[in-house]
Amino acid sequence: MSTATQAAPKLTRKDFESDQDVRWCPGCGDYAILASVLRVLPDLGVPREQFAFLSGIGCSSRFPYYVDTYGFHTIHGRAPAIATGLKVARPDLSVWIVTGDGDALSIGGNHLIHILRRNVDVNMLMFNNRIYGLTKGQYSPTSEVGKVTKSTPAGSVDHPFHPLAVALGADATFVARSIDVEAKHLQQVIRRAHEHRGTSFVEILQNCNIFNDGAFAELTDKPVKAEAQLVLEHGQPLIFGKNRDKGIRLGSGLRPEVVELGKGITEKDLIVHDEQDPTLAYFLSHMGPPDFPTPIGVFRAVERPSYERALDAQLVDAKDRLGPGDLDALLNRGDTWDVE
């Protein structure tokens, strides 16, 4: 989302740190995400009081307490609904939702898809650690099949969501992914999310070192990371690997395949990332181990009028046509009669 920038005194990270003790478990990926957000906020040109951070329930949802802006820690799964009301009532605010895989995709799944299709101009940061942390370790809607947890001692039989595919299915206008420990990348994505007009959905892969340690180790560990991550850049071919010698091309039909560059295969054979191509975004959203690297970056960014602006336009139009509301005229509308 974006908000009109205003001339204001230069803000710093300190201005956005609240006086509350941060109470996530030591080593939690949430610390890194908080640090990145606090790093970005002062640079957005938005006065501190114009920010509102809303959250649902879960570890991630404690986030608003740690940011010295307006904040609302709501109830499980409902932050998108509450944020919709806030943004519609107050289009001037920069509204952020912080949520997790359980909050957004399980108990709040309905509100998630509806805020996305309406394209309310808010930023949604979904921390995905593939586990329920606050309730102490049950499987989540993004946990892999076979996951052994307290509530699935014989392994989970639930097929997991691809969160970005869900967002794309709801016709989200901005869909992106980053990783807690990739601070620079994460900050870029957060900036892009802020600039986008409409609902920005950002999945942030996050480690839970208590209940799901190493959730994304195969993707974030230094030795393997270059082979396991595919950094998306609009207009650039899909290349990855430590030596940038691997790429993704379209194989038979619409099936992507990993190829090694050289031996007659050049960058020209590869798929070029296009943030406006819905088909590409969809198959990128399903891409991941063991056969593919995991894409990070902006999967989709398209323009569509945001809900609150469209509604505002109707209000303006009504006032133009009918004049400002006249209460006495309204109360006396229709057939009236006078009693002497």
């Binding site: 009081e49 608003p64 409902r78 009301g85 519609v88 107050r90 109707q314 057939d335």
Partner: protein, 631 residues
């Protein structure tokens, strides 16, 4: 009966201005009944407007099935609209009707079986619909028009369908289109019979069918044909006149409860100088409020049809956080879904209005029928100690004032408020003395902007209310949420003593609203044998019953509660002034439990849960039984 017995029994008074005799009646109850596709609600509504413009006091009862179109001609598909119009004060739509217009055999069967028509009452039927097939659908073995079973009524079997098609002979409309106009024939005929002005209906037709000139012309022609038929046919020798009621001077309009609720919200938002945000999910019988408010965008009202009931209230609460008047409208099943968010609103102490237009329960229950069984839900339907104010509307017009008061309390006390209305008054109509904006009280709203010494849960020492501070205010950034907070600072706090302090503070804040509740007004006897304590839409039936009992010399009073939580501070004293207390409710006894618990009063219940309002006679009978016990 003969038509001269019609109405309230006043002496007949012939007038000579028309070719036929005109007799004056105190009041008449008319019921239109037909297939749910026959346009009975429309005809009833128009006849109501005509009667309102004739200056009568009135009360209506729309009564329709939940199915949009039940099988044509079936008993399940019968839709009715009852109107009581009078030159005297009207409290109810009438226990039973003086005139029944039945558009098909099923409508006749349902209403005769239920005793809707008074013995000797006037019965008008569309003769041509009494075909073998329709009779079978209505489960008649033989035609009631010929078997003598209707001998106790004054039967007029009229060719309504044929008169309609004759009037539209050269209209070029299809047979189906022609027959869809026949409700206007019935309306025209009734308008003549009771000397109602048809101009408002003509205006309505002109507006409604603006884009379909052939239907506009057809409906107008049929309406006029019905009127002329009454005047010229030899079937009717007399028309009836019901003179204007003597009511307070001023400008009136006809209003349903849902319209009055919508208008009350618009007015309250204006008087509070706040933008209104309505989050709602369509549900019978509340949807009309959403429809109505959606068309008031020029008043700055934002309406949001949410994905579900939970999102509807959530968005309203989010808007309240942003400084708007947050409102959600629903019925009982929706309140169940909203409970968690209402609890959050109690915890974060933000203003919010939840309008529950009650209906038959439990579960889907009787969506189009009335009931008042959500009082306990409003009172206790959240987890934990979660008090909030509850107000109930007594009549259609009363919805305006009550919802206005609900808004005032929500803002002044920074609390969610539940407004209880129900299907009966939501859809029912009555004349309303239209208020003027200049006469409405202002609702004070002051967002705090001074950062000096600000603490999010600092409270007003008297009302215990925290201040409303909205995002965008520099220097007052703060966080709120559902976790228990430390009083004053608003920091998350699990301390045992703080929790008890907060639970008690929230409770005292709500119970302290008694300071705003005006002294109770008891109608009828101010002390004596029996006090009837009612709430909500039973007002009309109880009022009429008490009037009747007092006129008969009984010592009976009526107290009707608008404030259900907290209860009026003088209620305990009022209860003590009577030997017995009766609580009529359209449930199995909910207010009575609160009264017993609060005042240890040995009240007795008078309960009806049939999806329809009390008849006056039922209340009178219930009181008489208690009076007999007293002697």
């Amino acid at each position: 009966m003969s038509p001269t017995d019609l109405g309230g029994g006043a002496a007949a008074e012939a007038a000579s201005k028309a070719a036929k005799a005109i007799e004056t009646r105190d009041g008449v109850v008319v019921r239109f009944a037909g297939d749910s596709g026959d346009g009975m609600q429309l005809v009833g509504t128009q006849f109501t407007i005509e009667s309102a413009l004739a200056g009568n006091d009135l009360g209506t009862l729309p009564d329709f099935p939940a199915e949009i179109r039940a099988p044509a001609g079936s008993l399940a598909g019968v839709s009715g609209f009852q109107l009581n119009f009078s030159s005297r004060e009207v409290f109810t739509p009438g226990d039973s009707c003086d005139v029944l217009v039945a558009m098909n055999p099923a409508a006749l069967k349902v209403n005769i079986d239920e005793g809707s028509l008074k013995p000797g009452g006037m019965l008008i039927v569309d003769k041509e619909t009494f075909t073998d097939q329709n009779l079978r659908k209505a489960e008649y073995q033989v035609s009631p028009l010929t078997d003598g079973s209707l001998d106790g009524f004054d039967l007029f079997a009229i060719d309504i369908s044929k008169l309609t098609s004759t009037a539209l002979l050269d209209s070029g409309l299809s047979n189906k289109q022609v027959l869809r106009c026949k409700n206007f024939l019935a309306l025209g005929l009734m308008s003549w019979l009771f000397q109602r002005p048809i101009e408002p209906t003509i205006r309505w037709i002109e507006q409604k069918f603006k884009k379909a000139p052939e239907l506009l012309e057809a409906n107008k022609r049929v309406l006029q044909a019905g009127y002329n038929f009454g005047e010229t046919t030899e079937l009717f020798h007399t028309a009836y006149e019901v003179r204007p009621a003597k009511i307070a001077a001023g400008r009136y309009r006809n209003v349903t409860g849902n319209t009055a609720t919508a208008l009350g919200l618009v007015a309250a938002a204006k008087c509070a100088d706040l933008p209104m945000f309505l989050g709602s999910y369509p549900i019978t019988p509340a949807s009309d409020i959403l429809h109505e408010l959606s068309s008031y965008k020029h008043f700055g009202i934002r309406t949001f049809q949410a994905e579900d009931e939970i999102a509807a209230v959530g968005a309203a609460l989010g808007a309240a956080f942003g400084g708007a008047l947050g409102v959600t409208t629903t019925s009982g099943p929706g309140v169940c879904l909203k409970s968690e968010t209402i609890g959050l609103a109690v915890a974060v102490e933000l203003p919010l209005v939840i309008a529950d237009i009650q209906r038959g329960s439990p579960s889907t229950g009787l969506p189009t029928k009335t009931e008042q069984a959500d009082l306990m839900l409003a009172m206790y339907g959240r987890h934990g100690e979660c008090p909030l104010p509850i107000l109930a509307c007594a009549t259609p017009a009363d919805c305006f004032e009550t919802v206005f008061e609900a808004v005032r309390i929500a803002i002044q006390y920074m609390t969610p408020v539940i407004l209880l209305s129900d299907g009966y008054i939501a859809n029912g109509a009555e004349p309303w003395l239209v208020p003027r904006e200049a006469d409405l009280p202002k609702i004070e709203v002051e967002f705090r902007t001074d950062p000096e010494g600000y603490q999010p849960y600092q409270r007003d020492p008297e009302t215990l209310t925290r201040r409303w501070v909205i995002p965008g205010t520099p220097g007052l950034e703060h966080r709120i949420g559902g976790i228990e907070r430390e009083d004053v600072t608003g920091n998350v706090c699990y301390h045992p003593m703080n929790h008890e302090h907060m639970v008690r503070t929230r409770d005292r804040k709500i119970s302290g609203i008694t300071r705003d509740i005006p002294a109770s007004v008891v109608d009828g006897a101010s002390q004596g044998d029996v006090l009837l304590v009612g709430w909500g839409s039973t007002y009309g039936s109880i009022s009429a019953a008490v009037k009747e009992l007092v006129a008969a010399g009984e010592s009976v009073g009526h107290l009707h509660l608008r404030y259900l939580n907290p209860l009026p501070p003088d209620l305990g004293d009022v209860l003590k002034r009577f030997r017995r207390v009766i609580v009529p409710e359209m449930n199995l006894g909910q207010l009575i439990k609160l009264l017993r618990a609060e005042y240890l009063v040995d009240a007795s219940g008078l309960n009806k849960v049939q999806g329809r309002p009390f008849k006056v006679s039922e209340i009178v009978a219930g009181v008489r039984k208690v009076l007999e016990e007293l002697t």
